[in-house]
């Protein structure tokens, strides 16, 4: 669906991605008292990146809990809680810390429903921040969502707009499956129109066409959605660029992407994760499986060039994928 159609007829409010996520969390805490937020300093402190804000004051310790600094422990507890009647929403302050909790993610959360022959629900949401751009260096800037999208039994979403940030957060919490919401921390201040309807959700598995175009399709995620839109505006008149926010990484809306590719015949995939063996490759593989004969040019990848995120600004800027990279890729194939 196009972003415009999605918002048509909805009452909206302008807010930042951060506020949109918080509003989504607030509405779900309100709707269902079995929704439990937990994580490091998500409570009284309001979250290190200030996403949970004053939810602790609004809902109290029973629903918004500060945990010990023990990712394996509280992610594991979230799994156990999800199997026994509550709907935990655990925050990983930086997705780089996910390795610490990976055991519980890959062997318990992802596998329990399957291994038990469907004998359990697993309504757990993991919110994790990603992305470089603030000089946080290699252990606090990673983009790891490919791991999760790759791993069977987990769902992964990575919103690029404020509306999707709210809609996907709510969809994740309502889902009976484990859903990871990857929040790029550089767009927390990015503003957008966000529906105010308390039942507005963005269905998991649907991409959003943010801008329609005829010549080339840019499939982008997170921060690169906004940057691609800027590039598209800059190129307008010369090149007509269609920009799709993939939004959901697994399941992935192959149909919307392929439909666009059939129209444009050209595609750039822009995602901050490292390029090799990754999210880009998956999108491209699906595109060629479904629309090989519509292709007019080789598909391009824009991502982090297989390095970690370095600290010093010129180094970080060197490897951080951005609008310029998207523009170069477009120019290469049109």
């Amino acid at each position: 669906m196009t972003a415009q159609a999605e918002l048509d007829g909805q009452e909206t409010e302008t807010m930042t991605v951060r506020e949109a996520i918080r509003q989504g969390l607030r509405e779900e805490l309100e709707r269902d008292e079995d929704v439990l937020i937990m994580g490091e300093d998500v409570g009284a402190f309001g979250g290190v990146l200030e996403v949970t804000g004053n939810l602790y004051e609004e809902f109290g310790e029973e629903q918004v809990r500060d945990t010990p600094i023990a990712e394996a422990g509280y992610v594991g507890a979230a799994v156990g809680a999800a199997a026994t009647g509550t709907r935990p929403v655990a925050e990983l302050m930086f997705s780089d810390f996910m390795g610490v909790s990976m055991e519980q993610i890959m062997n318990q959360m992802a596998k329990m429903r399957y291994m038990f022959g469907g004998k359990t629900e697993m309504p757990v949401t993991i919110r994790a921040t990603e992305g470089g751009g603030m000089g946080a260096a290699s252990q606090h800037s990673g983009t790891v969502h490919t791991w999760i999208s790759h791993f069977p039994g987990l769902k992964a979403v990575a919103p690029g707009t404020a509306a999707a940030a709210k809609g996907l957060t709510k969809a994740a919490i309502r889902s009976d499956d484990p859903v990871f919401v990857f929040e790029n921390k550089m767009i927390y201040e990015q503003k957008g129109e966000v529906p105010t309807d308390e039942d507005y959700i963005t269905p998991i598995g649907e991409a959003s066409v943010e801008r329609e175009g005829e010549d080339v399709t840019v499939v982008a995620t997170q921060r690169l959605v906004g940057e691609s839109l800027t590039v598209a505006d800059g190129l307008s008149g010369d090149v007509s660029v269609e920009v799709i926010d993939a939004q959901s990484l697994y399941p992935l809306d192959t149909e919307t992407i392929v439909e666009s590719l059939r129209k444009t015949g050209r595609m750039v995939v822009a995602d901050e994760s490292p390029v090799s063996y990754g999210t880009h490759a998956e999108i491209i593989a699906r595109a060629q499986e479904e629309a090989f004969f519509s292709l007019d040019a080789p598909i391009q990848r824009v991502g982090t060039p297989d390095t970690h995120m370095p600290f010093s600004t010129p180094l970080e800027q060197e490897v951080l994928p951005d609008g310029e990279g998207v523009q170069n890729a477009i120019e290469k194939i049109v």
């Binding site: 507890a77 156990g80 809680a81 026994t84 509550t86 399957y114 291994m115 022959g117 499956d177 992935l252």
Partner: protein, 344 residues
Amino acid sequence: MTDYTLETEDDRLEALRRMLTIREFDTKAGHYFADGEIPGFVHLYIGEEAVGVGTCAALDPDDYIASTHRGHGHCIAKGLDPDLMMAELFGKADGYCNGKGGSMHIADIDSGMLGANGIVGAGPPLATGAALSISHQDRDQVALAFLGDGATAQGQVHEAINQASTWDLPAIFLIENNQYGEATPVEKQHNVDQLSDTAQAYDIPGVTVDGMDITAVYEAVQEGRKRAANGDGPTLIEAETYRYHGHYEGDEQNYRTDEELQQWKDRDAIDAFKARLIDRDELSEAEFEEMQAEVEETIADAIEFAHDAELPHPQEAYDDMFSDTVPEIEKFANRARTDGGDSR
């Protein structure tokens, strides 16, 4: 369902029956594994029966347990159906997990069984989470995690106990110290003499009991349950026990002596409990023989059930990934449907 205690004569006989059932189930599981009919691994609980049964007798029927890779005994103690368990071991569609789990993943959340677990040390965080649900919803339950002496060294076990004790959650952590983690003796894995001493690190009570004495395990878990249900937080219990078989079936066991094994067998938990019930005039040799025959029949029936049950259809490999269908899996499933999976 754990609808027995050790308080009445009938309860005690039921507990003895469960211990016998576990031994018979695992003895037969070992045979069928050796015959190649059961794939994968089986970790047998023989020797440790008093721990599982003493524990579950002290729990309420609705309480949760998180189990380990050595989980058959916990399942039977908790009241799971041997037919469905055996069918699962045989990989049959009628098994507890429709053949997707096998020995190391039997689960039945509705019976409070949160799953055997192939990951050493993964159960305690799950129990902490279950205790969080219980406490959040103010339910009258507790959650107990079984863990091995080996598992006690895992980082996530520490995190789980720390969190449960910091939040005063209704949890119990029960270490089954069977003296070895695979081939490595407990002294080579831990600096403390008694694993329950680690409780001090969490400011919770810890106690070590004789795991070959069902009444000792029962009493300790009863106390732990009281504390948990009162909102006093978790308890750490170590039960000292021994596994008679190898770590897995086929293990050479060159790490222990026959004398050591014999010393523990001399204190066999089933023999000891049986003798006490006879002493108390609650059981006669003849009645015991009868009970043993019934148990053998129960397990023979389970094996027959497992043998007769259908293998899962290959298509079922695509079921139960998520609560809904996702196009990716649909696609693979559909391909399998049309070409038998050749074009994956």
